[in-house]
């Protein structure tokens, strides 16, 4: 993976596959403390202790078509190669939280990349799942909650072209606001 936002897209798919109705993504960039971290918290079906213990192994997957799953192992490798790591907690019937911590300034830390496209992709593809997205950078914050958006939209679909265009611009502007002078 060239970008952290691609890892995030990958892990978000796990939450969706687990049947989550609400997925929370929080990214924190803190250059002063030299930390780049994010967590993804879902209310999906969760994992039992045995599965959780082996979940970072490439040979652990819920897939039935083959025996390997690389999403979590790749994220683990990316985080650990910057001196960070990942932490996963899960409870059956309650949900799963995965956290990844990177060293902000480490040469091997991938850039966050195009997080707008990641969010746009999952929001429009999975209308039945709600997403809470929080991106903190220094003392600035951008927050986006699809529950608010859907409330305003009433019954109008997120896949409506006008709505999708709005979403894309809104996300882009929100992200740009984090780095603007």
């Amino acid at each position: 993976m060239k970008e952290i936002s691609l890892h995030i897209l990958d892990i978000l798919q796990n939450s969706i596959t687990a049947g989550a109705s609400l997925v929370e993504l929080c990214i924190t960039e803190d250059a002063e403390k030299d930390i780049f971290k994010f967590y993804i918290k879902d209310n999906g079906k969760g994992m039992d202790k045995e599965f959780l213990k082996n979940v970072t192994s490439p040979f652990t997957t819920k897939r039935t078509t083959r025996k390997v799953g690389l999403g979590i192992p790749l994220l683990k490798l990316a985080a650990e190669s910057t001196g960070g790591g990942i932490n996963i907690s899960s409870e059956l019937g309650v949900g799963t939280t995965i956290e990844a911590v990177f060293s902000y300034s480490h040469i091997d830390r991938q850039p966050l990349g195009n997080i707008v496209d990641t969010m746009f992709t999952v929001i429009t593809a999975y209308e039945n799942t709600d997403f809470l997205y929080i991106h903190k950078s220094g003392d600035r914050e951008f927050k986006f909650d699809t529950r608010e958006i859907k409330k305003i939209l009433g019954g109008v679909a997120l896949s409506e072209p006008d709505v999708m265009a709005w979403l894309l611009d809104y996300l882009k502007e929100g992200e740009a606001g984090l780095t603007a002078e």
């Binding site: 690389l70 992709t121 593809a125 305003i152 939209l153 009433g154 999708m164």
Partner: protein, 121 residues
């Protein structure tokens, strides 16, 4: 700046029946979005499809995601399902190829055979 008030306007317009999409999506574009697909560049392909479909206002087409289609070395893979026709599997897709598939296949009904799996193997 886009605001929530703009969204309110969009809702009013849509509720009035202007440009409302129908739920009966006949044609399906299925994009592989597992780890292999994402690493091979599924995201820009996915957004290219969504944008192109929106731009052309193709109401009968829906873009959906799926897991690993099973031929990771040919990622990025996209399947196009037109009712009454055989499924077409496109491989090694890029955003440019995606736009061409929309124009040639979805709109004009001609399969872009040079991008299909049959041509790659």
């Amino acid at each position: 700046m886009k605001s929530l008030a703009d969204l309110e306007e969009i809702r009013k317009k849509a509720s009035a029946g202007v440009g409302m999409r129908k739920d009966t999506h006949a044609t399906r574009i299925v994009v592989g979005m597992a780890t292999c697909g994402i690493a091979a560049g599924a995201r820009p392909v996915m957004t290219a499809f969504v944008e192109e479909i929106g731009k052309r206002n193709l109401e009968h087409v829906s873009v959906v995601q799926t897991g690993c289609i099973g031929v990771c070395r040919l990622e990025h893979i996209v399947e196009v399902m037109v009712p009454g026709e055989e499924k077409v599997t496109y491989v090694k897709m890029t955003p440019e190829k995606a736009r061409k598939v929309v124009a040639e296949h979805i709109v004009n009904g001609n399969v872009v055979s040079e991008y299909t799996i049959g041509n790659a193997e």
